[in-house]
């Protein structure tokens, strides 16, 4: 018997989970609200720590999804729980009777306009990490014209209570170091500064990346948050910060400032969560059954979670999470779901 499984979100988590479940022999339906699969990965140029091209990773993910029914430009219109399954009406008119639902709604990048003191959207020479990746992909950005001094601001919309973003986004430190190196590669004459409050470089090879940035590329790391940014008459930026190692205020004129926008719970994911009646925690990400033992199960039987829908994750973590979710779905569909008579009891014991 082939169970229907609906996977919501066509980013890395959704793609990986659908590939795994397809392999297991399930009938997988993947929906993606944007016109293109790949999520944020499709917009990135290269990936930390080894700077492999994002396109390669995405290609291998997509190749593995052979046989998965994909609907792009598709969202959920309505969903209702039947006895055990979910009846899902899609915006393209199709109705799916799904035995399990996997939510891989991912994240949104923090809207850097909200940190007005950094001047994104106000000063010409301020961009975000995503803008810079787009530049690396296309080689085009009016802001980048042989910059001599470039600054990276870590933790924009992360670990910032005032902006309502308490959590660490996990990926920005490594991304900033990677992008700093790439800037030096592109513009060897440029001076590059990273303003950080802590460097959370925890993964394998991340430390190597950090040392490489310092030793081989001469990237300057300054511990201290940027206080404010103002624009000089010539369009360059005057950045004021505190160097908390030297305990002194400092200011520096830069040609380009890159804001490392952090991860925020996805807005469309939130709307979806409301449709499904799923709980979110204070940080805005979906609540899981148990953070340690059941991190891929939602609080509702039959609904699973994978990837950044349950908090910021690096790409390897997301893929591992997606595989784990696939295993969980399989276990549910083989052990709990088929036993119609004891279903309720089993859900009580094993969900």
């Amino acid at each position: 018997m082939k169970n229907n499984i609906l996977i919501i979100g066509g980013g890395p988590a959704g793609l990986e989970a659908s590939a795994q479940l397809q392999r297991m022999g399930y009938n997988v339906i993947l929906i993606e609200r944007s016109p293109k699969l790949g999520g944020h990965l499709a917009k990135w140029d290269r990936l930390f720590p080894d700077r492999v091209p994002a396109d390669e990773v995405l290609r291998s993910l997509l190749d593995a999804t052979e046989g998965v029914k994909c609907f792009t430009d598709t969202d959920i219109r309505a969903i209702n729980r039947l006895d055990k399954s979910y009846n899902v009406r899609l915006t393209n008119g199709i109705t799916v009777l799904s035995d399990a639902v996997l939510v891989a709604s991912g994240f949104d990048l923090f809207n850097a306009v909200r940190k007005e003191e950094y001047g994104y959207g106000i000063y010409n020479q301020v961009m975000t990490n995503a803008d810079l990746e787009a530049y690396f992909r296309t080689g085009e950005d009016r802001r980048i014209e042989n910059p001599r001094k470039v600054g990276f601001v870590h933790c924009v919309g992360s670990r910032d209570e005032k902006a309502g973003c308490r959590s660490c986004s996990k990926v920005c430190c490594a991304t900033a170091v990677k992008q700093a190196i790439e800037m030096k590669q592109a513009f060897p004459e440029a001076e590059v500064f990273c303003f950080y409050m802590d460097l959370r470089l925890f993964g394998r090879h991340y430390e190597d990346l950090y040392l490489e940035a310092q030793k081989e590329y001469g990237v300057r790391f300054i511990r201290g948050r940027v206080a404010e940014v103002s624009e000089n008459f010539d369009g360059t930026l005057l950045v004021k910060a505190e160097d908390t190692v030297a305990s002194k205020p400092l200011k520096v004129t830069l040609d380009l400032l890159v804001l490392m926008a952090g991860m925020r719970p996805s807005a469309s994911g939130k709307a979806l969560g409301e449709l499904l009646g799923m709980n979110v925690e204070d940080d805005g990400y979906f609540a899981v059954r148990s953070g340690i033992a059941a991190g891929q199960r939602s609080q509702q039987p039959g609904i699973f979670l994978a990837g950044a829908a349950t908090g910021p994750k690096t790409l390897p973590e997301t893929l591992a999470d997606a595989r784990a979710a696939a295993m969980e779905v399989d276990r549910y569909l083989t052990e709990v779901f088929p036993d119609a008579r004891n279903y309720k009891q089993l859900v009580k014991e094993r969900w």
Partner: protein, 658 residues
């Protein structure tokens, strides 16, 4: 009526009133006399202690002020308006105002009229040694009216006494009703009474019904009017000819005694201390300690009415009621250090409790003083003030940057060459943006745009960064630290030789206006400055049909009294709509840097409440004139929780020059 004429037949000239008890004393007056004597002793000792605690020059200032005609007139006006008529409450909540003035003014009149009656009819009894303390209070007990000889004058007083008693009783009835349904009188929250409050409160409720009972029992002997006489006849109808009036007079006296004995420990002490506070306040004496000296008069002047509970923006959440000014003052009275500090630090310093306080208690100032007791002694390094060169004489006409050359390996030439701004040769306008404006660069952009459009020649004092104005330090109770930055900034501004100083941050504006004492320099907020530019025809604005609501920033509105200029200017560019709370009732945006401990979650709740009030008139745009409000509202709107309509948030200058 009991025929009494035979007793008096022998007298030649028949008096209207007969002092029926020659000793002028009865045991029932003891509870009252003890209570009131205790209260006056307590008050006397407190007054002496208070005067001893205030500095000598303040004492002299206070003494002199009583004889300055202008101050004396103000004193008299405020004593009547605030203590007796409660005009401030009337203006906002008429029913509540009626209740308070009925009890205060009514009681005051009864006491005064009682004394006048004694003075007119048995003047000897005013002497303290002959019962002057209690005789006028229990006048009706001690006298007989000569029924055949009641004059118009006597009847007039009978009428007045009954009238004011009825007036008070109506107030008491409202007060009792308010205990159960305060919202009808316009109060969402009321203060939780302490034990002494309860004793005093229940005695107060009882005093006037008992007075009516006592006086009506004796009305056929000592006279009465439209209220007491019919009630007296009713008692006769019920109990027959003989009325046992002693228990009523005892109960009346006991209640009075209880009330006065509990008074010093209860909220009702304000009845007398308020007088002292008004005199001190008008003398211009300010508290410099949260508990001692003038502050003592101030905290005892608090009537614990609880109007500050509804005023406090933190109280959108019930759990924060305990941080209201009324409880702050209660714990100050009780010397509860731990709670005082926690409450003092929580406050947003929006000053709304002060603005709405019927007694004019400046609780935010007391909180600041309390913070100073803890924070002012904290060590801090001011080396950067010297390093910045601000204390060295600066070249006239040039404003020096205050930032040290970038260190930590950043090359000094990384700072742009033009780190000093040339001031206009004919010293004109100096614009000081301040830290908060620098965090909201769109304000700077808009202000400069306005200046350019109006052709204002100006110098930018802190384009390259400046020193804090000192107000945040002041709010945190760090007065000494504030004094240092004020001094440094003052030198910089005076050296610039400007004539007008324009500030775009109300936080800066308040302290520049109040603490800097810049001689010959006109300190204006940019709302005022821009409004003048428009009025003078220097700035062309285009009227649109955009619906604008203006948010009064705390420091600008309540803090500096600037309400009209921003509205006048905005009405030139759009249609102003009303907010449900505005002017001095405007709700803090929640972003205030006054609070030292309020967390972001609670702040977000306040922002939502403030937004709701602003959106009541369905505006398209919220305009504010404070960088902090702008930041907070932009954030709250972008989060968009509980918002039905989409609304833009703009700075004042942005709205004027889009």
């Amino acid at each position: 009526m009991t025929p009494l004429s035979y007793l008096l037949a022998a007298q030649a000239e028949v008096p209207e009133v007969i002092d029926r008890i020659p000793s002028g004393f009865s045991y029932f007056v003891i509870p009252f006399t003890v209570g009131v004597a205790f209260m006056f002793c307590w008050l006397g000792v407190g007054l002496i202690r208070l005067l001893a605690d205030i500095p000598k020059e303040d004492r002299i200032k206070f003494g002199k002020s009583l004889f300055i005609p202008k101050v004396a007139l103000k004193n008299i006006k405020e004593l009547f308006c605030d203590c007796l008529f409660h005009v401030k409450i009337w203006q906002r909540k008429p029913l509540l105002g009626y209740m308070h003035s009925a009890i205060a003014f009514g009681w005051f009149m009864i006491i005064i009229l009682g004394h006048i009656e004694v003075a007119l009819f048995v003047p000897a009894r005013l002497n303290v040694t002959r019962g002057g303390l209690f005789y006028p209070i229990f006048y009706r007990y001690f006298v007989w009216m000569n029924p055949g000889h009641t004059t118009l004058r006597g009847s007039f007083f009978f009428f007045l006494m009954d009238f004011f008693l009825l007036y008070i009783l109506s107030g008491i009835a409202l007060a009792i009703f308010k205990r159960f349904r305060s919202i009808v009188l316009g109060m969402r929250h009321t203060t939780k009474p302490s034990f002494a409050d309860r004793v005093a409160l229940y005695s107060l409720w009882m005093i006037f019904p008992l007075r009516l009972l006592a006086e009506s029992f004796t009305a056929d002997l000592s006279g009465g009017s439209f209220l007491t006489i019919p009630v007296n006849q009713f008692w006769h109808f019920l109990f027959g000819d003989k009325l046992w009036f002693m228990p009523c007079w005892w109960a009346y006296s006991i209640c009075l005694g209880l009330f006065f004995a509990a008074m010093p420990f209860s909220r009702y002490m304000h009845i007398l201390t308020e007088v002292l506070w008004i005199l001190l306040r008008n003398a211009g004496v300010k508290p410099n300690h949260p508990r001692k000296g003038v502050a003592e008069a101030e905290i005892y002047a608090c009537s614990s009415c609880g109007l500050c509970l509804d005023a406090c923006p933190m109280n959108v959440q019930k759990k924060n009621l305990k941080y209201s000014s009324v409880y702050f003052i209660r714990f100050l009275r009780r010397h509860n250090e731990k709670k005082i500090n926690a409450i003092a630090d929580k406050c947003l310093m929006c000053d709304k409790c002060h603005a709405l306080c019927p007694v004019g208690v400046d609780a935010p100032a007391l909180r600041r003083a309390q913070r100073a007791t803890v924070n002012n002694t904290m060590p801090y390094n001011y080396a950067y003030l010297d390093a910045s060169g601000s204390v060295q004489p600066s070249e006239p006409g040039r404003v020096h940057s205050r930032f040290a050359a970038a260190e930590n390996g950043l090359s000094p030439e990384s700072a742009p060459a033009d780190s000093t701004q040339p001031c206009h040769a004919n010293p004109g306008v100096l614009y000081f943006a301040g830290c908060m404006t620098h965090l909201t660069p769109r304000i700077i952009k808009s202000v400069e745009k306005v200046f350019k459009a109006a052709g204002v020649e100006y110098a930018f004092a802190d384009r390259e960064g400046g020193i804090c104005c000192g107000r945040p330090l002041m709010l945190a109770g760090r007065t000494d630290a504030a004094a240092k930055v004020i001094e440094a900034n003052k030198q910089m501004i005076e050296a610039s030789g400007c004539k007008t100083l324009v500030l775009s941050c109300p936080i800066c504006y308040k302290i520049f206006k109040e603490e800097y004492h810049l001689e010959g320099i006109n300190v204006v907020h940019y709302t005022q400055f821009i409004n003048e530019l428009i009025a003078a025809g220097r700035l062309d604005v285009k009227k649109t049909d955009e619906k604008i609501v203006y948010h009064d920033p705390c420091e600008l509105g309540r803090g500096c009294g600037v309400y009209l200029e921003p509205r006048a200017a905005l009405s030139q560019v759009g249609t102003l709509v009303k907010a449900s709370k505005e002017y001095d009732e405007s709700i803090c945006c929640g972003g205030s840097l006054g609070s030292l401990t309020l967390d972001t979650h609670d702040r977000a709740k306040i922002s939502q409440a403030s937004l709701q009030a602003l959106l009541s008139g369905n505006p398209e745009t919220i305009v504010t004139a404070c960088p902090l409000c702008l930041k907070t509202f932009s954030e709250a709107v972008s989060r968009g929780e509980n918002l039905e309509q989409h609304v833009k948030v703009k700075d004042f200058a942005e709205a004027i020059c889009p």
